[in-house]
């Protein structure tokens, strides 16, 4: 009896979470029933006290704090997480536990003593060991105190599959483990689910989407023994499988589209999301999946994909808050990496060990900072710079883009060869008198025409127009429309303008006659932007008026025509030799077009190398490339032959009048090709990656977890309580990744299969998917977990095979219909005596609505999209200067109707559909979602415009496809949503609802119009009927059966 009640205690937390989701009064009833029923079942199950199931949880929760792994807090000189110490001698000389002898076991005596000074746990600990727990401990000691290592820390071995009485039931090994337990408890498994229900369930579990009516029909018609397996194989092969599996992983990897802290600016990271999808679809073995994410960059000759994978280490939130202390930010980022890896791969709560040795599990602070040392040497700034691509990043190009670039590079190579050939052909003779070869010439250099200069960074993507809008030269002109002061610019051009005397900066401008500006301004950057010229009113107050920082150049030019504006370099304070690498175009109000921007240089043209070189030397050789400059500066006699040749080549290409024109055009071709290459490269997305710094950063134990409190210096090392690094690997990130996926690693395979189990069955075999330690829950089916983990490794970490094994089991195929007593006995279905039944996740709910209404756009990958959400959600919280302070919804259905996986996640204000339905904000690693049931969810599913849109589309769909008969339409609608035909009662209710709505909408035609107006494409449908069906669809989409995986 004692044992029985104890089990009830252990399971109590399990139902407690569940009870958040249901009404309170009900939860109390359930809890009482659950406690008793399970306890009765388990009583027959246990003859001996099970150390891991029954004793360790008590010791951990009540004793480890002072008698556990943490040496600093240890009292009495003994520990109860360690057999030798527990059975040995304490400081006092007493023996904590003496097998078979409770009277001599100090632990037991301290539990039962009346002396409050001696009683354990101490009163001020606020911990209490129940009478039942004490009795269990006594029984265990009486039974010889058999000790076992913590279940999660021994390598999973393939246990033998237990025998069962109902030999016909099992379909695979899983069923043997499940049934063996049920038989011990004398519980019968549930019958198999109906085919349609099973198809809907498995389609959701493998793809996150409902089956199509055709798929349902095909499956119902297929009586072959392989029918179900064929469906499973089809689903596993579908691209939607990877999208669905990726979603869980992205919760764990804490993937988001913004940095997550302070400004919370945009972060371009979606190539990593797509890599995860591809990996699941390609069934990348989980060991490889792990290695690439933790150390893809360290693999030999890493591919783009392997480098993208390291984004896992960069998904953590980052900041660039003004005033932040770099070292503190650096420590936080690295800690996040370590803690996430602890949760995702080790199922361990490493965060505890940031500040002290773990109080429950075998991890020390030294272990923590030794792991820290693997992840602290990133080649980049740990502050995000508020940019979308804080380095290290990888730019990703498509195969086509890569090919295009290769072809352009080929062009460049050819032109360069041509150039060399031409050079060799020039016959140059130095004139006798070097003074003769000199004339003055005006040369115009176009710097911006259709593209910004090579390598230049734009303030924002420039807006370009083509004819019929005003364009002066080339294919397009840049433009801007503003209210008040507004500008666009480029800076950091790869080849700056080198200022020479008498140069004129010019640009052509066209002012919109219908919307002229008050003022226009140009501005140049030679390291600062304090060089401005303006035309028109003096309303832009940058710089000092009348000075080089704000020079008035006249009235606004006439509108409606192209006008050339010129500014001499001296006017705006630019000096010879200055390198101008940026140009800005500012305006106050109005619409302005700019085109053909550049500089006119009056320069001397030479036909004598000696004369040119002499003049250059005298002028300081400014503006020449470095190597040429140094040659020019050498005295003629000191130049080597090679230098002479180099100088001559330069002269012939760039200066010598008779040959320069030929070379100018060749150079222009090279430049054009290079600009194109740069433009292609710039168009490719970037993604954050991890790259190891050349020099490894030192790591210390940080006292109390404080970034600036360096303790003992530590080296890279795996936790002492786990197996060592395998032979033959380097002690670096790659070695650590390989260590995680060594076959004898006790945790990784268990933790991973448990998460897959959780995806499919709703609750993991270990409910605390994030914590396999002493404070986590013990597995409901320890041998099954062992078997699955060992088999997973044996199968070469084959994910699809493992998932397939789960959904092929008879356990999975059971119906979820059960007598209420069964639900009450085991609300979370931990015994697996019925099929899984849970509310669909946020993403599945939206995807389902889009799918069955026919709106869903199935497209794999790409940038995140912004389906509409209520106004002001970002603005209410966003930092004023953030680039995500204002939400601008996408309007193209190709974007707004994509799977929820692709919805843009601003982490400080996540999409309401996701956060209302329990999806995490992605600010921190999450491996288990809670499932709640709230009125706000009901409001969302009824009224969110996206769900209303889906209802309208579903209504229109059945009206056009299911004939004129209301019965047929209602049947079709119900069938689309549930995958089964309605029964007579259901049909009656749907039809009654339809008729009621129709009567009302006929009376109020305006209301009908309002409800259906957005569906313009369906103009031929009667608005009242469409409105009435829309309400029926709204009803159907809210049915419990539809929002639930049954």
């Amino acid at each position: 009896m004692i044992r029985k009640v104890f089990i009830c205690q252990v399971l109590l937390p399990a139902f407690r979470c569940r009870s958040h989701g249901i009404s309170w009064g009900f939860a109390v009833v359930v809890s009482v029933l659950l406690g008793w029923s399970v306890q009765l079942c388990r009583a027959a199950d246990q003859e001996r006290v099970d150390f891991n199931q029954q004793i360790r949880p008590i010791l951990s929760d009540k004793c480890f704090h002072c008698h556990g792994p943490n040496a600093e807090d240890r009292e009495g000189g003994f520990r109860l997480d360690d057999k030798a110490s527990a059975l040995g001698e304490a400081d006092s000389g007493a023996h904590p536990i003496v097998p078979s002898d409770p009277k001599s076991s100090e632990v037991y005596q301290r539990l039962i003593t009346d002396d409050s000074d001696l009683h354990m746990p101490p009163v001020d600990s606020k911990k209490n060991v129940t009478k039942e727990e004490i009795a269990t401990i006594r029984t265990w000691i009486e039974q010889g105190a058999p000790w076992e290592g913590h279940w999660a820390y021994s390598p999973p071995c393939l246990p033998s599959v237990p025998a069962v009485r109902q030999k016909a039931w099992p379909r695979n090994a899983i069923d043997h483990f499940v049934l063996a337990r049920l038989e011990k408890l004398d519980i019968k498994p549930s019958p198999e689910a109906k085919k349609a229900a099973l198809l809907r369930r498995v389609t959701f579990d493998l793809t996150g989407l409902p089956p199509t009516p055709d798929e349902v029909a095909a499956f119902l018609a297929d009586d072959s023994p392989d029918a179900y397996e064929n469906v499973v194989d089809r689903l596993l092969a579908s691209d939607c499988y990877g999208e669905h599996m990726a979603r869980f992983w992205l919760d764990a990897a804490r993937y988001g589209d913004t940095h997550g802290l302070h400004l919370d600016n945009y972060r371009e990271m979606w190539p990593y999301r797509d890599w995860v999808v591809r990996s699941f679809n390609g069934n990348k073995p989980f060991d490889q999946f792990t290695i690439e994410q933790l150390a893809g960059d360290l693999l030999p000759n890493p591919t783009d994909d392997q480098r993208i994978a390291t984004g896992f280490l960069r998904c953590h939130v980052t900041t660039n808050e003004g005033g932040s202390i770099k070292e503190e930010v650096y420590v936080r980022n690295v800690v996040d990496r370590v803690v996430t890896i602890g949760t995702v791969f080790l199922g361990s709560t490493l965060e505890c060990t940031r500040c002290h040795d773990h109080k429950y599990d075998p991890f020390t602070m030294k272990d923590f900072y030794s792991l820290f040392a693997y992840f602290n040497s990133m080649d980049g700034n740990e502050m995000d710079g508020n940019r979308k691509d804080p380095p290290p990043t990888l730019r990703i190009l498509t195969a086509q883009q890569k090919q295009e670039i290769a072809s352009l590079r080929g062009d460049v190579k050819n032109v360069k060869a041509e150039l060399r050939k031409q050079l060799a052909a020039v016959e140059y003779h130095e004139p006798d008198d070097s003074k003769l070869g000199k004339v003055v010439e005006e040369v115009q250099r176009i710097w911006v025409d259709d593209e910004v200069p090579t390598g230049a960074k734009e303030s924002e993507p420039w807006k370009w127009v083509t004819t019929p809008k005003p364009v002066l030269s080339g294919k397009r002109a840049t433009t801007r429309t503003a209210m008040g002061r507004s500008q666009h610019f480029f800076e950091k051009a790869k080849e700056p303008l080198v200022v020479e005397k008498q140069q004129l900066l010019f640009a052509y401008v066209y002012l919109d006659p219908d919307n002229p500006p008050k003022e226009i301004m140009m501005q140049w950057n030679n390291g600062t932007w304090e060089h401005r010229a303006y035309w028109g009113a003096n309303v832009i107050d940058w710089g000092k008026n009348g000075k080089a920082s704000r020079r008035h150049k006249g009235d606004l030019p006439p509108a409606g025509e192209w006008v050339r504006l010129e500014v001499s370099v001296g006017d705006v304070g630019l000096k010879p030799g200055d390198k101008v690498h940026g140009w800005a175009f500012t305006q106050f109000d109005g619409t302005v077009y700019w085109d053909k921007i550049g500089v006119t240089t009056r320069r001397t043209v030479y036909s004598s190398l000696a004369g040119w070189a002499k003049d250059q030397r005298a002028a300081g050789a400014n503006g020449l490339p470095k190597d040429i400059k140094s040659i020019v500066k050498l005295e003629m006699t000191k130049r080597t032959d090679a230098q002479k040749k180099q100088l001559l080549d330069y002269f012939l290409q760039h200066v010598y009048a008779p040959s320069r024109k030929t070379f100018d055009s060749l150079q222009a071709r090279i430049q054009a090709a290079e600009q194109k290459i740069a433009a292609i490269e710039k168009a490719g997305p970037t993604t954050l990656v991890f790259r190891e710094a050349k020099k490894q950063k030192p790591a210390w134990i940080l006292e109390r977890g404080e970034y600036d409190q360096h303790g003992l210096k530590v080296e890279r090392a795996t936790p002492a309580g786990l197996p060592p690094l395998p032979q033959g690997v380097d002690n670096d990130r790659l070695g650590l990744a390989k260590w995680l996926v060594t076959p004898n690693h006790p945790l990784v395979a268990r933790v991973t299969v448990n998460r897959f189990w959780q995806h499919v069955f709703g609750v993991g075999l270990v409910k605390t998917a994030e914590d396999f330690g002493s404070q986590g829950e013990v597995p409901s089916h320890p041998d099954l977990l062992n078997w699955l983990a060992a088999q997973f490794v044996k199968d070469g970490w084959d994910v699809k095979r493992t998932v397939k094994r789960m959904v092929m089991s008879a356990t999975y195929c059971q119906t979820s219909r059960a007598a209420p007593a069964r639900y009450q006995r085991d609300p979370e279905n931990r015994l697996l005596a019925r099929g899984p039944r849970f509310r669909l996740d946020a993403e599945m709910l939206r995807d389902q609505a889009l799918a069955i209404s026919g709106l869903l756009v199935e497209k794999l990958g790409g940038p995140s999209v912004k389906p509409p959400q209520p106004d002001g959600l970002w603005f209410a919280v966003g930092y004023s200067g953030s680039d995500t302070v204002r939400f601008k919804p996408d309007t193209d259905p190709k974007k707004t109707h994509r799977r929820t996986l692709y919805t843009f996640i601003k982490r400080t204000a996540p999409p309401p559909e996701l956060s209302t339905l329990d999806a995490p904000s992605r600010e921190a690693c999450t491996v288990r979602r809670e499932r709640t049931n709230t009125p706000l969810q009901a409001l969302l599913l009824m009224n969110d415009p996206q769900f209303v849109e889906a209802a309208r589309a579903l209504a229109a769909k059945v009206m056009s496809q299911a004939g004129p008969d209301a019965r047929g339409r209602a049947t079709r609608m119900f069938q689309l949503a549930t995958c089964r035909l309605p029964d007579e009662l259901e049909l009656k209710q749907l039809l009654a609802a339809y008729r009621d709505h129709l009567v009302a909408f006929r009376k109020d035609a305006k209301a009908a119009e309002q409800l259906v107006q957005a569906n313009r494409a369906k103009a031929e449908l009667d608005p009242s009927e469409l409105a009435a069906w829309t309400m029926v669809a709204n009803l159907v989409l809210n049915l419990d059966e539809v929002v639930t995986k049954n």
Partner: protein, 486 residues
């Protein structure tokens, strides 16, 4: 007959029929609470943890007026007359003691003292010093307890505001309001348990960000997260029916949904279905109760005047305070109003008076209004930000204008109402409002105090997460501030 059906029908048929007969609409409407008359009216609790509150609470509900960005304590409450003589003198090293600064000022060559340009006077029986910027607050010093020695470790906004609101500097933890919902449950099922308002402001335009995590549920189930009450669009997300769907249409749809879900319950036997049915009914009730809450047409002119001219502009701090009072009347457990724009790195002379004007009169009105309705006795009100500001100047210093950087070592908050001893000034800072001389109050101590007023022992309200019993107030020992408790 199907045994599942049989069982469920025997359990629910009578209830189901009786409700159907009444019609969902009337049942729902009958359950809708009229505005309550005030304190003392017994409200039925639902949800929450057994055994919580741990002891008889002084406050049943709380309103937290959060000044995001960090108000300058020495320009508002922490009067430092000695500073006047030290204008533009360097902050003595003996005061700063090499403490870390944000990198916004750590590079400054000098740390010149910027005395407050504002006048201070003593007020009330307590003799509390209050700056001329807060004339209304000054009038009620005998209603409130001023704590001058709050302190924190975080020196930047994001970590600091996350810390004070969720007990931890990094994202992922449950917010104060989520803890209260989780522990105490609700007293009014027709309104959210924890409501958040983000008010407009008129001080520094470039305001620090807020984050949904500040009222998030963190590791707690998401049903405990704060619900934003918005001033534009739907007050509660997706509250309004789509255009063309009248309340009658919605009721018709819900009646059918109810019947069909009952049928599913009979089919499957899963009690979760029953919970879902209840949630839809509650959603329908919210469609009435929330608009009723936000409609202030019935407020008297006298009351509106008390809150000042902004009260009729939706989204202002004054309007938010009035709504907070209306929610207190309706037993909403926790209301948090975030007012931004307090990050005065520069232009204290220009921006701070505007910020104060936003909040001063409404704060006073809220306290008086609650008092007049007998609600102040069991409603806790808290005013404060995430840290303080430095006595030394950031940027250009003149007598008339200056800026102040972040200062975590001391700042001022005030508390009032249920559980708080009124007319108290607690804690003493040094002459520079830089270090604490007497009675430090860590932000965890303040959160422990808030919980205490609501009948919760902060050490015993915990949630098992990642193997630990996690608390709002962290692992180090902290305690409620006894001296300000009534």
């Amino acid at each position: 007959m199907d045994p599942i059906r049989e069982y469920v029908q025997s359990m629910t048929r009578r209830h189901f029929l009786s409700r159907s007969a009444m019609g969902l609409g009337s049942a729902a409407l009958a359950g809708l609470l009229p505005p309550t008359g005030g304190a003392g009216e017994p409200a039925k609790r639902s949800g929450g943890l057994p055994g919580v509150p741990h002891f008889a609470p002084k406050a049943k509900r709380a309103i937290y007026l959060f000044m995001a960005g960090a108000p300058s304590q020495m320009d508002l409450f922490d009067y430092k007359p000695e500073m006047d003589k030290l204008f533009d003198k360097d902050l003595p090293e003996s005061i700063r003691m090499g403490q870390r600064l944000t990198t916004m000022t750590s590079g400054q060559k000098r740390f010149p003292i910027a005395p407050s340009k504002f006048e201070f006077k003593q007020h009330g029986r307590s003799g509390a010093w209050v700056s001329e910027l807060l004339p209304y607050t000054a009038k009620m010093v005998d209603d409130i307890a001023i704590v001058k020695t709050l302190n924190t470790e975080a020196i930047n906004h994001d970590p600091a505001i996350t810390y004070i609101c969720t007990g931890h500097q990094l994202p992922g933890r449950a917010s104060l309001g989520a803890w209260l919902s989780y522990g105490l449950g609700t007293l009014n099922e027709n309104l959210p348990t924890f409501v958040v308002l983000t008010a407009s402001w008129t001080g520094r335009k470039e305001a620090q960000a807020l984050f949904n995590r500040l009222w998030g549920a963190g590791f707690l189930p998401s049903k405990y997260q704060g619900v934003s009450l918005r001033s534009k669009g739907d007050p509660v997300l997706f509250l309004a029916n789509p255009k063309g769907v009248s309340p009658a249409t919605r009721r018709r749809m819900l009646a059918a949904l109810d019947r069909m879900n009952q049928d599913t319950l009979e089919r499957y036997g899963d009690p979760e279905i029953q919970a879902r049915i209840a949630q839809y009914e509650m959603a329908f009730r919210m469609q009435t109760s929330v608009p009723e809450l936000t409609n202030i047409a019935g407020e008297s002119k006298h009351v509106l005047d008390m809150y000042g001219p902004d009260v009729t502009k939706p989204g202002t701090f004054a309007a938010s305070c009035l709504l907070a009072r209306r929610m207190a009347e309706r037993n909403v457990r926790f209301v948090q109003i975030f007012h931004r724009g307090w990050d005065q790195h520069g232009n204290i002379g220009g921006d701070l008076p505007n910020q104060c004007r936003d909040v001063d009169q409404p704060c006073h009105a809220l306290i008086q209004d609650l008092k007049q309705r007998g609600l102040l006795d069991d409603t806790l009100v808290v005013w404060g930000g995430e840290f303080g500001r430095t006595v030394y100047c950031q940027g250009k210093l003149t007598r008339e204008n200056y800026g102040r950087d972040h200062h975590p070592r001391c700042f001022t908050v005030w508390m009032a109402g249920g559980g708080i001893k009124p007319g108290v000034v607690y804690g003493q800072t040094d002459d520079f409002s830089y270090n604490i001389v007497d009675n430090p109050v860590h932000i965890h101590d303040m959160n422990a105090t808030i919980l205490h007023c609501l009948g919760i022992d902060h050490q015993r309200l915990s949630f098992k997460w990642q193997g630990l019993d996690v608390r709002l107030t962290g692992v180090e020992p902290h305690q409620p501030v006894k001296a300000i408790l009534a």
